[in-house]
Symmetry: C2
Subunit: 255 residues, 2 copies
């Protein structure tokens, strides 16, 4: 007897940005697995059970959730943002591929959510208005050389770059090194957006030129967006913060 | 007297994937500007006014909306998916920068939405589970050479690639040429996902190997996701479609 597993994206963290589909998926699940701060966002009913875990235990969390689902329980795994972007959907797929055959029979549903870069971009203009990429800056799961190679390729080819997982206590120097790489390919004036906790009460969104970008402006809850050479800043009156956007058109290859 | 302009992401097209914030922004606006099929999704009240336009008139639509907002009207510009991803938010910013100074005083709000690649990815597994990029395949606003250069750079650097605007009557050959470029850098077995109308009644999601990818499988409503060399397919029983995912980890630089 197989149950169901829903991998649910809760969005950036305010109720207005969580989809009705996600709300309904939470309502109908019985047991919840996730990183504790995400579980804390849920307003669960009597009889709904939480299994909180730490944020670097994705694979064991996925396996625990699949085990419960294979026992016939309706299980939910929750992610902040979108579960398919550097989050639990890939971990669940990894666990299914490596796990017992019966896990492939579980009814798996993935519920998308507003991912951080979209929420941050919306608060400042349209920095992702042209071709862009998303890179996780964590070198826990890939070699740092590969990250540098991607930063180099993306900035040379004119992509706007959204950095997820920019910094943590265990990874203090990587963001600074990333800015150094990018300065080799992009003008010092390129806008860099530090978008922290977009849409939440403790939101902090700021844009600075790449030449002045300070890694200590970021924390674990920050998504950093680095413009391309074509990204522009529109100054507005005193009452309004500048808009940062990347035009839809591009006149030619960058360097 | 300045009104307000909300640029609203309606999501992929089913009500369950439109955020409460977007629903509320629609409820409170007075005049609506957008591509007709997006306006047709709205259930407007008496007194709410529609201004439909064609899908290649983004800049004039943005200017018309800003003009009305500058006259004190509460205006909404609607996009499918997310307005910041190859959609109206950048067009509105372009118009503001080029327009009269008073347009900078308009209260501008951008309401994010679930963008197509997230909705498509959720229906098939987690193809965007590792570093990825989004490229518009339209060469209306940038030279084709630049698109080829980005396809080459992204596939060589190991990014999964989501293609927006893959094909249209006026742009019939570009997607086939894109597949040719990608075959030069990626194995023939690399999964290619054709995700059409994700979450809508006429949804059609399929994964084929890059070697067999046929451009005629795509239309204007399709988002095409091309895996990296590390993207994997998990076969399941007869009742379940295969899962396609890109592992969170990467063992080393690709070619």
């Amino acid at each position: 007897m197989s149950g169901r597993l829903a991998v649910i994206g809760l969005g950036p963290g305010n109720a207005g940005q969580m989809t009705p589909e996600a709300t309904e998926a939470v309502r109908t699940a019985r047991e919840f697995f996730g990183y504790k701060p995400y579980l804390d966002r849920l307003d669960l009913a009597d009889g709904q059970i939480r299994h909180a875990s730490d944020n670097r235990e994705e694979l064991s969390r996925a396996a625990a959730a699949l085990t419960r689902a294979s026992h016939g329980i309706d299980v939910a795994v929750v992610s902040g943002g979108d579960p398919g972007v550097f989050a639990m959907a890939a971990a669940v797929c990894e666990a299914i591929e490596a796990g017992p055959p019966e896990w492939r029979d579980i009814e798996l549903t993935i519920v998308p959510g507003i991912t951080a870069m979209l929420a941050v971009a919306a608060r400042i203009g349209a920095p992702l208005g042209h071709d862009f990429c998303a890179i996780s800056l964590s070198d826990n799961l890939k070699p740092w050389e590969l990250i540098e190679r991607r930063l180099d390729a993306a900035s040379k080819a004119g992509f706007v770059i959204a950095l997820y997982n920019p910094i943590s206590k265990a990874r203090p120097w990587q963001l600074g090194r990333a800015f150094e790489c990018l300065r080799a390919n992009l003008p010092e004036t390129t806008p860099v957006i530090f978008g922290r906790a977009a849409g939440r009460p403790d939101e902090r969104i700021a844009s600075v030129p790449l030449g002045d970008a300070d890694p200590s402006s970021a924390d674990m809850a920050t998504c950093v967006i680095i413009g391309s050479a074509e990204t522009r800043v529109i100054e507005r009156g005193e009452d309004r913060s500048p808009l940062v956007y990347t035009p839809r058109f591009s006149t030619g290859p960058s360097r």
